[in-house]
């Protein structure tokens, strides 16, 4: 892309920021009376609803939205000047968060909401997206496009649920979900590495196969099992002693269920492995320049198989979140596009684990917002809020937030 496009992108984002800021302020100030207060409540860790809150932050709705809008416009003008570091990407991320914050403030005007609960929910809902993004990073850093994460998650969710039903133990279910993802992804690995099939097609094949297989298994295995009385329970929450009782931080980070903890551990772990170990260096090498890596004695094909297998297991774990952690249940196509959103989070995070977590949190904040304001009397139809994660995905892919620079050898089969 040329230098001219970069300048354009900067202006487009800045203009979008100004338009969004004005639109938000215009709509909110016309819909909400000026004297309405939105209260953000901060609760103690493990507090019951009747307990007194740690703090209540009263925010005058219209004035707060006005301040946010002014800040956004100021930021846009700064971006527009275009001197110094290019902050466009950060600004775009802030813009999305600000929009979600304004919608929250607007929806709860005249009432209050528990902001700590909202943040904890964001971390929870980010789990499958972040894990899926990690799976994507593993594959793409090795030079394999993996569009099949959606299908892998769905398969993991399904087989994990069946295993949990049969064994009565959700931990075994989680293990089987991980192995299930690892097994199915080998179809993608063999098709794209051994048979050198277009990786987009072979990924799509897995997505379609997953819908068929899981639908069949649900009708012919899960429903007979549950109607015969097989039951189980979700993976239980494990509050970490002491840490979980810290106000604010405790509920957000230290009072979760197993898959969410695994995600929180895997993000820094993957960062270390990818950027601080020989394996990480080799993985990045076969994704950028496989021939050079081969010359250096790295087994390109073997390492690609291995990394795709790990990625499949990670996506399987993300699947376990759906059927064993968020609820003990399996529904047809229950992953609802989260696998594709994970790819957008990966791109947003520029193929780094921490960046992917940031991307995942943007998407999960849209999800959390939508859940949080259910039940409030709110002018915006819920369907439009449900669209938000998908719209953000398209915006991310369109490169408005940061220019993507994927690993160079991505999607190309390696010929010795």
């Amino acid at each position: 892309m040329s230098e001219g496009f970069r300048l354009d992108r900067r202006r487009i984002v800045a203009l979008a920021g100004i338009v969004v800021a004005l639109a938000l302020f215009g709509i909110v100030s016309s819909q909400v009376p000026g004297d309405q207060i939105s209260t953000l409540r901060i609760t103690y860790a493990n507090a019951r609803p009747v307990d007194p809150p740690l703090a209540d932050i009263p925010l005058p709705t219209v004035a707060t939205v006005g301040v946010v809008a002014l800040l956004l416009i100021a930021g846009a003008l700064y971006i527009m000047r275009g001197t110094g570091r290019d902050l466009t990407s950060i600004y775009a991320g802030v813009l999305i968060f600000a929009t979600i914050f304004v919608i929250l403030i607007w929806a709860i005007s005249g009432s209050r909401t528990d902001i700590v609960d909202m943040l904890a929910r964001m971390v929870r809902l980010a789990t499958p997206i972040a894990l899926g993004a990690l799976a994507g990073i593993l594959c793409e850093r090795s030079g394999i496009i993996n569009i099949a994460i959606e299908g892998l998650m769905l398969t993991g969710a399904c087989v994990g649920f069946i295993a949990a039903l049969l064994s009565g133990n959700s931990w075994i279910g989680m293990l089987i979900a991980i192995l299930g993802g690892g097994t199915i992804v080998m179809v993608h690995a063999i098709l794209s590495i051994r048979f050198k099939i277009d990786q987009i097609i072979s990924g799509t094949v897995i997505n379609i196969l997953a819908v068929g297989v899981t639908g069949y298994l649900r009708a012919n295995v899960i429903l007979p099992l549950t109607s015969a009385g097989a039951t189980g329970s979700t993976l239980a929450a494990i509050p970490i002693p002491l840490l979980s009782s810290i106000p604010v931080l405790g509920p957000i980070f230290f009072n979760h269920r197993p898959v969410t903890y695994l995600m929180l551990i895997l993000i820094p772990l993957m960062h270390l492995l990818l950027f601080r170990t020989a394996w990480g260096l080799r993985t990045r090498a076969i994704g950028e320049h496989p021939r050079a890596a081969d010359t250096m004695g790295i087994n390109v094909i073997g390492l690609r198989y291995l990394n795709v297998f790990f990625a499949g297991m990670m996506a399987g774990l993300a699947g376990a979140w759906f059927s064993l952690e968020a609820s003990f249940n399996f529904d047809d196509v229950m992953t609802n596009g989260r696998g594709f959103i994970a790819l957008a989070a990966m791109i947003f995070g520029k193929w780094t684990p921490f960046g992917a977590l940031g991307g995942a949190l943007i998407f999960s904040s849209a999800d959390a917002l939508q859940i949080k304001i259910q039940g409030f009397d709110f002018a915006l139809p819920p369907q439009f809020l449900q669209m938000l994660p998908y719209v953000i995905t398209i915006i991310v892919l369109a490169g408005i937030i940061g220019r993507p620079r994927p690993p160079a050898a991505i999607g190309k089969p390696y010929e010795k």
């Binding site: 987009i200 196969l209 007979p224 369907q383 669209m387 892919l397 490169g399």
Partner: protein
Amino acid sequence: MTTKPESPPRPGIDWRGLATSLLVSLLAIFSALVIGAGVILVTSGSASPNRSPGVCDAVGEIQSVYVLCKAYGGLFVGALGNPRAIANTLVEATPYILAGLAVALGFKCGLFNIGAEGQIIMGSMAAAVAGAMFVGLPMIIHLPLALLAGVLSGALWGAVPGFLRARTGAHEVITTIMLNYIAIRLIDYLIKGPFRDTSSSAPRTAFVAEEARLPFLFGPDYRLHAGFLIALIMAFVIWWLLNKTTIGFEIRTVGANPDAAQYAGMSITRNFVLAMAISGGLAGLAGASTVLGLEHNYKAAFTGGYGFDSIAIALLASSNPIGIIPAAMFWGALRNGAGLMQLESGISINLINIIQALVIIFVAADQIVRWIYRLPARRGTQTTLTRGWGG
């Protein structure tokens, strides 16, 4: 002096290539049905309540084979057993022909439109609304108007990913899927909100006017409607467009080699947007023909899996517009027979989805089929869809 320059030999139809790709398609279907049979044999035991799973006794074996015969027998009879079944197969095939053409046309331009579902949804909605509004128009105006509304709405839904792909590199595989989800939410809102038929308890649009309905071809006893004829005509129109017009030539050139096309002065953006708009328009027509010919109103979530099915059909037909017709009819037969299969054998309709995915694997990965059945490897190059995410 006036020696006529020797014109290069016109590229004739590569009959041999056509024959082998037909053979590959048939073998792919055959292999998928065989594996599907394996799935039935393995799972039918555990599905039947009077048999403990894992016990391998003679009675169980015979029972499994019996279930298998019942399943595939039911599939066949349900699809082609009597005139009404055949008519229903053709009815089922109608949207498949149009949606298959949509995906095939995308392939020709090097674009993978896996969002036919969303384009069908948008087309259905627009046709239903246009068909129910403007009451009092004569049929000769109202019916084309409603069809056109469906086409335009689908075309718009398709053109957006085409534009994004050309200008920003956002891969259409993800943007079209995302637009599917957005379309579903949007329709949910429209059907429950502005376009809801208030006289009905379930959320749906109002019935389309008589003048906007596609007539039945053989009377109301057979559900076969004029949309089937439109689909057949469109297959020939798309064949003509791709092979006999400049537009088609540009689309195919951009698909085969975008760099060369750009060098030759063709606009990538224009062709991507145009191809995706035509593709989306075809999908929109698929939705419109179903609404105007069959359902006569639009309820939430009445398309199911058309997007993925149409990929299978386009691959089966090697993206040949004329080949789409038999491929779509095969698909219509599978879908139409599935109901009786489930009734007769208790095997879930989802088996069809598995068979479908296997067919796609075997056709897309035709090296596997050629390898299993010892066919010669394909000459020429495959369309490349993988071009990274951006830039």
